[in-house]
């Protein structure tokens, strides 16, 4: 059972990107707008816990991951790692201890690998730049171990290969090996299998779950696939237009969703078991509104099949609907 002391905590995290105003707007003195990519998120991840972050494209999942890995700077809220405020920390040397413990797996493995570096260089890069090894023998040893842990055996065969000489699944494993090489305590995985074939997906998932089981590593698993989130995660957080609309245990969210958006997500997921137990609500119409124009009141109300007056005026707070299960909907009670 995972140890539940929180390793990471996000407190009302907010990322707004300024919109470039046109000349016209400036002349007319229109206020500069903002893309509210992440709009106040509270989330905690326990040690050795797997949390899935689920949402449509454009809902802000990647931005959350980029804030945690310090690739984007939040415009509000706090990022706490083991209780320490990391929000303002900057610069590659100041961040070194943090980088040592928090790593990321990218969505598109091919893009994430420098085409001119060999697999060895790629996996060795974090060890070199974080100064985790003293000599070449140690380096080679840790690179081999990381490759083996990511399921690339025999590791030596891959040392001198270039990314284009690997299959899609192997490339994703190289990215994973690079993240593992530093033995992090938290990994942010941004849609790590969405670019992969079904037949390879499960292999990568297995590697990730094994890491948690063997090294008590925590994982933030970003995906838009609800069944996949259910399969791998302990808890699922559902994101809509930059805000968490529901959060709870994987089983609760999958079998007992309390937010109309989560229900819609579940209904939209194609399933081989047929339509049993679905279509409780009509399918969602329209598209996610732009994050530059977040609707007033409940941000889901223009698409919600259950919307009523109050939804248009007041934004619902997260409401406790079960043990550890919150839903931001006026009807959740």
């Amino acid at each position: 059972m995972p140890d539940t002391a929180d390793i990471l905590r996000l407190e009302s995290l907010q990322v707004h990107f300024p919109i470039q105003r046109g000349l016209f707007d400036r002349v007319l003195g229109r206020p500069a707008g903002a893309v509210r990519a992440v709009d106040g998120i509270d989330l905690n991840i326990g040690r050795g816990e797997i949390v899935a972050l689920v949402g449509e494209s454009g809902s802000g999942k990647t931005t959350v991951g980029r804030v945690i890995t310090k690739l984007a700077q939040p415009t509000g809220g706090r990022l706490l790692f083991e209780g320490r405020n990391m929000t303002a920390e900057r610069g590659s040397s100041a961040l070194r201890p943090y980088r040592h413990r928090v790593q990321m797996i990218f969505q598109d493995a091919y893009q994430a690998l420098n085409p001119r570096h060999t697999v060895f260089d790629i996996v060795a890069e974090p060890l070199r730049s974080l100064r985790l090894v003293d000599n070449v023998t140690q380096l080679a040893e840790r690179v081999s171990k990381a490759l083996a842990a990511a399921g690339l055996n025999p590791a030596g065969d891959f040392f001198s290969r270039f990314p284009h000489e690997l299959s899609g699944g192997q490339r994703q494993r190289v990215v994973i090996a690079g993240a593992l090489a530093v033995k992090p305590e938290l990994i942010i995985a941004d849609e790590p299998v969405s670019m992969l074939d079904v037949s390879i997906r499960a292999q990568i998932l297995q590697v990730l779950v094994d890491l948690r089981d063997k090294h008590n590593m925590a994982l933030l698993f970003i995906t838009h696939d609800l069944p996949l989130a259910w399969l791998i995660a302990d808890r699922i957080a559902v994101l809509y237009l930059g805000k968490l609309v529901e959060i709870g245990s994987a089983d609760e969210i999958t079998f007992n969703p309390r937010h109309p958006y989560t229900v819609a997500l579940r209904n939209a997921t194609p399933q081989i078991g047929g339509n049993a137990g679905r279509a409780v609500l009509p399918a969602l119409q329209g598209e996610v509104p732009s994050a530059a124009r977040v609707p007033k009141g409940c941000r889901f109300h223009p698409r919600c099949p259950l919307t009523f007056d109050r939804c248009k005026k007041e934004e619902p707070p997260p409401i406790e609907v079960g043990p550890q299960h919150l839903s931001a909907c006026w009807l959740a009670k």
């Binding site: 037949s199 297995q206 194609p270 399933q271 078991g273 598209e287």
Partner: protein, 335 residues
């Protein structure tokens, strides 16, 4: 004909089709003796992992093979007559008017500097010889058909979301009233909700316009939602073909079974990750015998040496030594 249980003459009949790609001196067999029939109004899923030959099959049928491709055996018949699939010019009257394609990743292929209505009207003018006014009217009608408000027609592609652009691509494919639409991974780049909307749209269009649909995907659950029949491809060959209900209830080929098991299914209640062992096949060095044998949990001695033929089995077809038809009627093997 390969599918003897069907008595109607098929709309499209692909017979023993093989396509090779020439590549710096080596030649690579992308699809190998693919045979199937498609009835009018039928929706067939073509499923397989990346590189298994799905797109090549589709492009061959539409006569859109790339210049380094060669049709090395077989033929494609449309309403009984042979299609000149390796002759680009001769295929021109057929393409778009009878068979049209929604390409993989095509929504990024829209011309960024033209309004979408113009891009939809273009094929109507070129193919059907319509005047500009007629073509624009037709384009409006098509926009309505795919669920885009007509006034959005003056938008540029970058002003539309991925789902809307995919709808535009579908509208363009429907412009000349084809009877077959091939969708090459039409929803792969989209998220679940948009995917559901597009699949629903394709289903509606299909019944409304009595289209035959070939849906290419690597996601079996997509096929489960909107196809009647599914064909599983592996390393350039069809390894199993049957109705959706039968294949999901009782997969016969071990690869199909493993594919289905690897889909997370909350309804089953079992949180289990079941990877398919091994790596995808290498087409240049294709494994001997059954191409799946290095990864197959049921592989036998004969699997490494003898290529299993795609035989009739029950109401479907399967190519596996575990399921040899008692009648043993093999598909004609081309030299």
């Amino acid at each position: 004909m390969t599918n003897s249980s069907q008595d109607k003459a098929p709309l499209l009949d692909v017979n023993c089709l093989s396509v090779d790609y020439g590549l710096k001196g080596v030649s690579l067999r992308a699809i190998d003796r693919v045979s199937f029939a498609l009835q009018a109004g039928e929706a067939v899923g073509l499923v397989g992992e990346s590189g298994s030959g799905k797109t090549t099959t589709a492009m061959a049928i539409a006569g859109l093979l790339s210049p380094n491709a060669r049709v090395s055996s077989g033929e494609v018949r449309y309403r009984g007559s042979r299609l000149p699939i390796d002759d680009d010019a001769a295929m021109r009257p057929h393409r778009w008017c009878e068979t049209s394609v929604v390409f993989q990743g095509a929504m990024n292929a829209l011309n960024p500097v033209h309004r979408i209505i113009k891009q939809i009207a273009e094929p109507c003018m070129l193919k059907l010889g319509m005047s500009r006014g007629e073509a624009t009217a037709r384009a409006r009608e098509l926009l309505g058909l795919v669920g885009i408000p007509t006034d959005r027609g003056s938008a540029y592609p970058h002003e539309l979301s991925g789902g809307m652009r995919q709808r535009v691509m579908i509208a363009m494919a429907l412009a000349c009233r084809p009877s077959i639409v091939i969708g090459d991974e039409p929803t792969t780049a989209l998220d679940v909700i948009t995917q559901a909307q597009i699949l629903k749209l394709l289903g509606e269009l299909r019944s409304r316009l009595s289209l035959a649909l070939i849906l290419i995907t690597h996601d079996l659950s997509v096929v489960a939602e909107c196809c009647d029949r599914v064909m599983i491809m592996y390393a350039g060959r069809i390894v199993e073909d049957g109705t959706v209900a039968e294949i999901f209830a009782q997969p016969k080929h071990p690869y199909t079974r493993l594919l289905i098991e690897s889909i997370p299914n909350p309804a089953s209640g079992k949180k289990m990750i079941r990877p398919i062992p091994g790596d995808p096949p290498n087409l240049v060095n294709r494994p001997s015998g059954c191409a799946f044998h290095p990864r197959c949990p049921s592989a036998m001695g004969v699997c490494g040496t003898e290529v299993p033929s795609l035989d009739q089995f029950g109401r479907g077809r399967v190519a596996c030594h575990l399921h040899r038809s008692s009648r043993g009627d093999k598909v004609a093997v081309h030299a």
